[in-house]
């Protein structure tokens, strides 16, 4: 155990130096991109905002089912099957057909090549399930159907969220999917997420619809409130243009009456429709509806054929800017709810870094003094090894550009405290061996060999705990698991290669000395 070949010594030295170099790139700047890596600081250390958003898919499902009733009716009409009493209840569609037609309808839904009910061969499932409960037929989304729907609304939502966050211009936001109905937004350096939160809280579903008094409007009508919540008017469900038709939206100052407005430009289809509607609807009120509330309902005075217009509604410059931003970035497929928020101010982050570093320095110092007092020359070996171990740990974290959190720093300090364990086990064993063995080299050899199972057992238990923590923990706690886990490997390496190298050099030189340890 004490013999080291020259090649091995060279390898251990180079390896250690490499990691010291990598670790030091956190302090100095290297030109080489391989060395110019840095440990990322977690949001709890650099300050910033963590938002977990959940997509509320209920409205999407409702809407899809609503559309589906029309599709089902039309589809079977073409096949001369009359669909009766179709209604939606509790996310199910119920309808009746004549008994004679029942099998035909079931067949359509259960056919793998059905053009009404898409089949996902990968999951061996249709989009919709159909069930004959005796009284009527019940159609609902299958499990896979719901999953597909959620995934697609998540795909759309994350795109819109990204656009909105980018428009606000924070540095290096991190936007990730979580499960199939959540989106994680990390905003480093942002200490007041209020604006982003209010921007993400809006679906931004914009429609232009005529105000009507005719309750028997062919498209149906609904009562909508104005944004201020006071007035209520009846608005047709017929959509003239919607947010999708917008090419651009910008906040502007209206020079005539000194009001802030949002001016918009329509795409070709939108411009055509807008022109047609404004030419036939002169004198009518056109309601501009955002997320179910009327922003304003100006009276159409003239045909607008230019494909551009403006929205006024008592905006401040800030609200106009935000509305324009929302319109530019598009509507979310479904409302988002912020279900978890954690924001840390940058000064608290800095305080945490300082506190962590002080604790690390003091913890390190205490351990070093203790070890030196206890083991003298071998304490010194342990201490040098401990310092190299720390560099190895930081080097690996740097190499993988891992995220360091406050609990992560705690993990490093704890590693310092526990790293000496392996050396202590070895040294204590050597002491025991020396009681019955006069040959120093043999005693040291025995000490290393006989302590090995205990060391491996002891480290595996800690590693298992760290692995579980890594997979089950969230955010900052994960950072703890990472440093604790990596710390175990660097500790074992430094004990068996670096400390053993120093020990062997010392022991071989002093092989005839008595009371070596």
């Amino acid at each position: 155990m004490l013999y080291f070949s020259k090649l091995r010594i060279l390898f251990v030295t180079l390896f250690s130096l490499l990691f010291i170099l990598i670790a030091s790139s956190n302090l100095f700047k290297f030109d080489d991109s391989f060395f110019n890596k840095k440990i990322n600081l977690g949001l709890d250390l650099q300050g910033g905002s963590y938002l977990l958003l959940e997509i509320d898919n209920e409205p999407v499902i409702e809407q899809k089912l609503q559309n589906l009733t029309t599709t089902i009716r039309n589809y079977f009409k073409e096949k001369n099957i009359k669909v009766n009493n179709i209604k939606i209840d509790n996310q199910n569609i119920f309808f009746n057909v004549a008994d004679l037609d029942k099998q035909a309808v079931l067949d359509v839904f259960q056919d793998e090549n059905s053009d009404l009910n898409p089949y996902y061969p990968r999951f061996k499932s249709h989009q919709l399930d159909i069930e004959d409960n005796g009284i009527n037929l019940k159609v609902s989304f299958s499990r896979q159907g719901i999953i597909n729907l959620k995934t697609s609304s998540q795909d759309q939502a994350i795109e819109i969220v990204r656009r909105r966050v980018d428009e606000v211009g924070t540095n290096e936001p991190n936007i990730l999917k979580r499960g199939n109905d959540r989106i994680l937004v990390e905003l480093p350096g942002l200490d007041d997420p209020q604006r982003i939160k209010s921007l993400l809280g809006k679906t931004a579903n914009l429609t232009f619809r005529f105000v009507t008094n005719d309750e028997s409007d062919r498209f149906g009508v609904e009562k909508l409130k104005f944004e201020d919540g006071l007035e209520e008017v009846i608005v047709s469900k017929r959509i003239i243009i919607s947010g999708e038709n917008l090419l651009d939206a910008q906040p502007k100052m209206d020079t005539q009456n000194n009001q802030t407005i949002v001016s918009f430009t329509l795409d070709r289809v939108g411009a055509k429709r807008f022109g047609k509607a404004t030419s036939t609807g002169i004198g009518k009120q056109l309601a501009i509806v955002l997320d179910g509330k009327i922003i304003s309902a100006p009276v159409v005075r003239d045909t607008i054929a230019s494909g551009s217009g403006q929205i006024s509604g008592g905006f401040t410059f800030q609200t106009a800017t935000d509305l324009a931003l929302l319109l530019r970035s598009g509507a979310l497929p479904a409302p988002l709810e912020i279900i978890e928020e954690r924001t840390v101010g940058p000064d608290l982050g800095q305080d945490s870094i300082n506190a962590g570093m002080i604790a690390l320095a003091i913890g390190f110092l205490l351990v070093i003094i203790f070890m030196f007092a206890k083991y003298k020359i071998f304490g010194l070996i342990t201490n040098v090894t401990l310092i190299i171990n720390l560099f190895l740990l930081l080097g690996i974290l740097t190499l993988f550009e891992a995220t360091l959190t406050l609990p992560g720093i705690a993990g490093i300090i704890l590693t310092v405290g526990m790293a000496v364990d392996a050396n202590v086990l070895i040294f204590e064993r050597i002491k025991e061996e020396l009681k019955g063995e006069s040959n120093n080299i043999l005693a040291f050899d025995g000490g290393y060999t006989k302590s090995r199972t205990a060391i491996i057992d002891a480290n595996i238990t800690t590693l298992l705990a760290a692995i579980i923590l890594f997979f089950m923990g969230s955010g900052p706690v994960k950072g703890f698991a990472v440093t604790l886990g990596v710390g175990i490997f660097t500790t074992l390496f430094s004990v068996y290669f670096i400390a053993r190298l120093f020990t062997s050099l010392y022991v071989i030189r002093n092989k005839n000395k008595e009371k070596l340890i």
Binding site: T343, G356, A359, L360, G363, F370, V424, E428, G473, F480
Partner: protein, 298 residues
């Protein structure tokens, strides 16, 4: 040589008492869950105005109808930690609070940290925490079962349960907050306690093979003594590191380091006085390990 085995009975009674008391506390008093597991909102506020005090902040927040509000100092005189349930789960609650505070304190304060955990997320985090701890105990059980004979596994696992339950019992007794970092601490305790037990057990097994004529009662004592300096030194260095975190690592890590300190102390104690006494009570002898060796060679 210290006669640890002289006190096996006394300390076993003490441990039974500690576990029973902890379980009773956990059942009847329960744990003081932080917002991570209970849901709600936390604000860390730093003031630069002497008008801002625990009582004036409490008055302000109570007026706002936020459900249960707790306000306390956090580390020093200018920092406060405010927690409330946010029972209606209002969306713009932070903005509202800021407006409200502005009206009485101007801008002489600063929100250093804001955390808001919805009821759904907190329920999930709690579940994940419970699973993590149970899983770690199960994994340790399997590991020790593979490495040692069942008598040893039982001893190690009992010691582990003891450490986790007593640490949580102390948290319950003093109403200390349980949050995500405490779960991390408990898992690390599990690892540490196991580590400590395994080192002594390794020696017990080695000695069992070596001496056929020494009774387990004596043998455990010999093994504890042989590994004692290692036990003390490792506990000491770990505690030194943890004390550094506790005193200098800032308020956020206080609970975490306290849980770890308790865990290390109990972990060291239980390796000696629970794990080993189980071996004694199960009358482990040389046969126990030799039979196992036979099985392994077959």
């Amino acid at each position: 040589m210290i006669a640890f085995n002289k006190y096996y009975n006394q300390f076993n009674i003490l441990s039974i008492f500690l576990i029973t008391a902890s379980l009773l506390l956990l059942i009847f008093k329960g744990l003081n869950y932080g917002i991570d597991f209970k849901g709600g909102t936390l604000i860390e506020l730093r003031s630069s105005d002497s008008k801002i005090s625990v009582s004036s902040l409490r008055d302000k927040f109570n007026q706002m109808d936020l459900g249960d509000v707790s306000v306390k100092k956090f580390g020093n005189d200018t920092d406060f930690l405010i927690k409330f349930e946010n029972k209606d789960n209002k969306k713009n609650i932070i903005e509202e609070i800021k407006e409200n505070l502005d009206s009485s304190f101007g801008s002489n304060y600063d929100f250093r940290r804001v955390e808001n955990v919805g009821p759904k997320v907190s329920a999930e985090l709690l579940k994940a925490g419970v699973i993590a701890i149970s899983l770690s105990l199960a994994v340790m059980l399997i590991y020790i079962w593979i490495r040692f004979e069942w008598q040893f596994s039982l001893g190690a696992i009992l010691a582990l349960f003891h450490d986790v339950i007593v640490t949580l019992g102390i948290f319950s007794l003093f109403s200390l907050e349980i949050n995500l970092s405490i779960i991390a601490a408990v898992l690390t305790i599990v690892g540490y306690s196991m580590n400590d037990t395994v080192v002594i057990f390794d020696r017990v097994r080695e000695n069992l093979r070596k001496y056929s004529d020494i009774k387990i009662f004596e043998l455990t004592n010999i093994s504890i003594n042989e590994t004692l300096s290692r036990t003390i030194i490792t506990s000491a260095t770990t505690l030194l590191a943890l004390l550094a975190i506790f005193f200098f690592g800032g308020e956020i890590l206080k609970g975490f380091s306290l849980a770890m300190i308790l865990g290390v102390v109990f972990g060291t104690y239980s390796s000696i006085y629970i794990a080993n006494t189980v071996l004694v009570r199960l009358r482990v002898s040389q046969k126990t390990v030799l039979r196992e060796d036979d099985n392994k060679t077959v």
